[in-house]
Symmetry: D3
Subunit: 293 residues, 6 copies
Amino acid sequence: MSQSPQSLLCPDAFLSPLEIDDAVTRALAEDLGRAGDVTSIATIPADTQAHAIVIARKAGVMSGLPLVAAAFKKLAPETGIRAHARDGVSVAAKTALMDVVGPARAVLAAERVALNLLGHLSGVATATHEFVRRVEGTRTRICCTRKTTPGLRALEKYAVRCGGGFNHRFGLDDAMLIKDNHIAVAGGIAAVLKRAKAAAGHLVKIEIEVDTLDQLREVLDVGLADAVLLDNMDAATMREAVEMVGGRFALEASGGITLDSIAEIAKTGVDYASSGWITHSAPNLDVALDIEM
Amino acid sequence: MSQSPQSLLCPDAFLSPLEIDDAVTRALAEDLGRAGDVTSIATIPADTQAHAIVIARKAGVMSGLPLVAAAFKKLAPETGIRAHARDGVSVAAKTALMDVVGPARAVLAAERVALNLLGHLSGVATATHEFVRRVEGTRTRICCTRKTTPGLRALEKYAVRCGGGFNHRFGLDDAMLIKDNHIAVAGGIAAVLKRAKAAAGHLVKIEIEVDTLDQLREVLDVGLADAVLLDNMDAATMREAVEMVGGRFALEASGGITLDSIAEIAKTGVDYASSGWITHSAPNLDVALDIEM
Amino acid sequence: MSQSPQSLLCPDAFLSPLEIDDAVTRALAEDLGRAGDVTSIATIPADTQAHAIVIARKAGVMSGLPLVAAAFKKLAPETGIRAHARDGVSVAAKTALMDVVGPARAVLAAERVALNLLGHLSGVATATHEFVRRVEGTRTRICCTRKTTPGLRALEKYAVRCGGGFNHRFGLDDAMLIKDNHIAVAGGIAAVLKRAKAAAGHLVKIEIEVDTLDQLREVLDVGLADAVLLDNMDAATMREAVEMVGGRFALEASGGITLDSIAEIAKTGVDYASSGWITHSAPNLDVALDIEM
Amino acid sequence: MSQSPQSLLCPDAFLSPLEIDDAVTRALAEDLGRAGDVTSIATIPADTQAHAIVIARKAGVMSGLPLVAAAFKKLAPETGIRAHARDGVSVAAKTALMDVVGPARAVLAAERVALNLLGHLSGVATATHEFVRRVEGTRTRICCTRKTTPGLRALEKYAVRCGGGFNHRFGLDDAMLIKDNHIAVAGGIAAVLKRAKAAAGHLVKIEIEVDTLDQLREVLDVGLADAVLLDNMDAATMREAVEMVGGRFALEASGGITLDSIAEIAKTGVDYASSGWITHSAPNLDVALDIEM
Amino acid sequence: MSQSPQSLLCPDAFLSPLEIDDAVTRALAEDLGRAGDVTSIATIPADTQAHAIVIARKAGVMSGLPLVAAAFKKLAPETGIRAHARDGVSVAAKTALMDVVGPARAVLAAERVALNLLGHLSGVATATHEFVRRVEGTRTRICCTRKTTPGLRALEKYAVRCGGGFNHRFGLDDAMLIKDNHIAVAGGIAAVLKRAKAAAGHLVKIEIEVDTLDQLREVLDVGLADAVLLDNMDAATMREAVEMVGGRFALEASGGITLDSIAEIAKTGVDYASSGWITHSAPNLDVALDIEM
Amino acid sequence: MSQSPQSLLCPDAFLSPLEIDDAVTRALAEDLGRAGDVTSIATIPADTQAHAIVIARKAGVMSGLPLVAAAFKKLAPETGIRAHARDGVSVAAKTALMDVVGPARAVLAAERVALNLLGHLSGVATATHEFVRRVEGTRTRICCTRKTTPGLRALEKYAVRCGGGFNHRFGLDDAMLIKDNHIAVAGGIAAVLKRAKAAAGHLVKIEIEVDTLDQLREVLDVGLADAVLLDNMDAATMREAVEMVGGRFALEASGGITLDSIAEIAKTGVDYASSGWITHSAPNLDVALDIEM
């Protein structure tokens, strides 16, 4: 019995079937071009069957297995899928992730697309998870930013969840994030927060970015924010900020957060530490396809 | 006088205006969502103008400036663009790349999309260029693979060219690359090459992947290939391969090529060294936007 | 000098130029079909010019004027637009809204699309505004729901803003709204709120729907919600709810809210009253085009 | 056995499977956004099953049931559908329309889209049917106009058919409708009809709009029209028009036709009475989903 | 001064700017692929300008010049267009049709797309015109069918108009055409015509296909058709049919109509002669581009 | 058991399932329009079943049968398909190609689309095959060009393969073809070939067009080309060219190649003869649908 792509999703995260179909179709179209897999057409008979095994060559956290299944089925709906892992799971190096049985030409034609999707998203999930492991036992949650690969935001945000991270805004539209330019134009922190609150509906949160504790104090005085982003502060200042705020709103550390610095940042007691690196610069996880025909 | 996106292209590489428009539209749609930049609508008057400067915080090779210009103009066609660099150029850290003058709300709404595109593609171009610099003075050319970020292949292949690299196949369809599975099914190297040659039109090149010098010798005997991919060979073996082939077809080194190993590989005399890393795992170049309103 | 569609937007609301272009293109394609305006091709010479005036036959609040301008320009870019109103403005019956000067065939071909867009969105804005006027002087804000016309959500949410209303969620994804089924599956209000809070990022608000004051009390005890939706309560119960909550989170009245009942509801002191009617059932505003050739 | 969306169509009307898929996909994408149903992901386990019942809260004529079925299946193909009604059928208030059995998360995620589609189209069908009932026993048929909700024309025209109405033109391209501007530019009724006839193929009908009986007489003299639209005439004048024409071509009453006036209009003997209101301003039919998990 | 694509349209026919943009974009994407014009990038400097002249090598009727202009401008908006002909005009062999001045790379990249569009549509227009010339002086009009090249219907129907022909149905939806299967299922000619009339709105024409004069007589008796298609009748039978009908409805000759037979058919007095050949099998008109750089 | 569209593909050629779905959807949308098959809705009950047989009226080579199957299944997935031929096969006149059993309305609605696709592509395959038959026993292969019908390139290139032909470039991007303008701008044959070689990756072939044997000699001297296109040469000159080249690279004859001249050209010993006519001007193959209900 073949498994459906949906059944391989991480249970704590959302990825729409529309998005899966769209991403897979787009990637296949890009790779097949106009003439398709000219090599396999020339060298492999149309009726040859293949048994392929998707493998994680390196250890990591899985993300993208539903897309892998969907890619193979898109080119040959009769392809059988049996998965040995699902998204969100950590696997060791050299783990067999999925058996794929179908027409050899279709398996070969979908191979690179499947691996590119799985390698990219598992790369994001694995990078996220490395941060997450370093903050275990603290109150700090790792979250992503809007610094994502253009066109892949929903997929990468999903991968962050697979890795145990939390999602920041998905776009400019699902929360307010007030930055220095907004403050400057509005005429200060009090003014900008009042404008923001007056415009925001009751389901829109307001976060404001501050560079100094003085600014943070002003936000505390005005009191209309749901969260404050501490921009490029050192750990000592962050610790002070945490004390000042006393849980009245969420504190997010941002700017130059690395695997080296994250543990110390988490010790300051901030609620969130956000990293653009996990989405825009995480290296691919090394995945491969072993094929027998 | 505002500059057109097209005028900022790398002169040695192609990126279609259709692709530019498509990538920018898709990325903007993803970031604007349904409600748009709720923060700026709430805090910045509709008629406020902004002057923004796109900056490279770190040194690197530019790729994506036409997309940056297109992103700003897409949201406000009246935006003025004056660029101080174009794609394919190396810039020092802290270089001002482009002045952007337009409605503040539109500038802020396009900011992240513009930076994500520029940071990603310049990351690829810069990574490519680092490899290219290490092979200067040798006959070896750096080239990319099909291990690209799903949905971004044309853009990333363009970025590779901006960085001085060469492009391998754009997809499964523009050349034949015969791998172990094809050889096995067809019944050996001679058989697979004959099948391939019989099917290929006169404008389709044939490359075949070999693991050993014995296989290479067989290819030399059959003589129907345009290029041979040396898969995961050490430098000594590659050197031998170069001698054996004596320029009769192109030799491509592939597998585990890193910045550390590339110089030694180039010394073997191979024609091409291909790297998936430069497209699937190159870190973003750090770029930013300074805004005055 | 012709005006740009963007310049006619309501300054307090967002509508993306991508959305404008998409909505207009889709509507024009739907009306032009494959053969276009066969009547005008047959009866009006290609070089005839037209001067048209967009008119509000009935009083109302404008929404959709940028789309009107975009529709005419889409079919003939040389068309001149001079607007006498912009979105968000209330106009009297028989107000001239916009002069349009261009090729007669193009003006006639775009007429119905322009009027359908303007009539529909101004209908929503006007309906919203009637509710807004009835709550003036109270703390209650009028907001919309997800009961919108399929395919037109971003446009209708914009129209609600034009009418002075606030926006509720734009989709399932930009805030949590916990309903009876969620409560039942999770095993009660405390359990569901804890699950929700554990999963929500720091920029996602949580609203929970309650039917009774007992449920409301439980929410107050648990304390993890940002807002509570009072489902189908009578005014007396709502008043009690307002007292119980004492401003600790936002209260939204929902269910059967009409122009007749809204004033009384607003007197209860709830923060929001939400209406599906203003988006799914508001009648078109009567708008027309007077044409001289 | 689950039923297919197609099997729920009104047998006398057409709605393409392409259109169904397109409308449902578009509406789901709009509601799911980038992050999907964050509430259900957080609070309902991935393997929870739901049994939902689609209900008409108010009496009305069904339109949109195939779209309801398609929406649930789109998010989870394994969802079981058992319908108790089909499009075109009148149901009483509180009628159970369809049983839906599937994964709870998918059922909840598709709920609003399904109800918005069904409520909107059944609203149009029900409004149409109210007009149709008032003209029963007369020769007058109720028909729609091009005053439809932008982007929903094919769906709304289908809903009109479900309600027992007839369709006017689907667009500018499937028949000629000559209005005052065409007459003026062409230099009078005789001239415009000759031009129209000369250009029209043999499968394109020609209708002309007249304001007065004098104009109608002129049309009768020229004799090239298939139908005449009587624009804003009172019932007495219409009756005279009917006599004058004596069945030589179809007569359509248009302008300000309401539920109050329609019976009197029908008594005049006109062949068609057209109403924009039934498509652009019909209120939603009240439909709901009862869910058990 | 550069001319707009729209200004080159045939004045008696419609082609939407949306359709022009769509067709040109699609064809360019198909030809540029992912890597674009690799030859010109390699061999022609980015700043080289070109002056190209579009030429009709053979005599014919023009159709597609607006698409030619749009193709060049799509790749380089600054391209200057000066046309010496417009669609619908007959030109001699070796006529210069249009001067194009722009960046050499863009001109070369758009060349084949422009010529393919112009050659195909002018081929249809020219084939149509050859039929039209042979029926001059008779009452017979040449018209097309639904036997068009998939995906190009609107363009080819436009080309038929450019050639002086008339358009039959654009699709299944804009008129009824009753064929033998419909008659058989409905239980005869009288029954099928009654069903059709009962379902058709007042702007939908009804045509019925007959094979024999007996069937034609039955149609005359029933009297609900607007047109009759005479299927594969010889000229003598057609002449009899014309007499029988006496102008009471339009008669269309169909089936095996060729340039050899058309004159004789026209002499029978039928109103229309329809040909699938002019759209599905007309050879390309020979057009070329002369370029100077 | 119903057959899948994929199973009807020509085994030596590629056509992506994405392309099949896209082509069929686009063609159906074009034919169904907004109102669908109004004739069948009016005259054929919804539950009538049909048995249809796809027939080749004339002898020819099949291409497009997978699209035929896909078209019927797209409108009614339950439709049963039993094929008696597959693409690439030659059939005699009056051959039954496929049995189709499904809902009558769906079968009739998809009929014209199915036949248009099959007739067009089989026309291309049949025309190609006529050339191929005339060169049997020679070394000459027939190939296509980029002179294809806009929007149908992948389909037509596939049809050429079905007919036994070879594919030239699929677009501007998959090989270099140097023409007179490139030579002129670069400053001669040697210069242009060096530029091309310097820019081309190792999997991009270079072909150069020559008009004279002097030019050919120059290409031989420079030696960087993979193929040479002999433009409009007579047979004697071609024969000389073949001798001069002595197999060092592929020779392609191009320009004015017809069924009359092809045999003589093949005798010259050229490797390829390319024809635009087989894609842009091949007449439709006559195919039909016999239906029983």
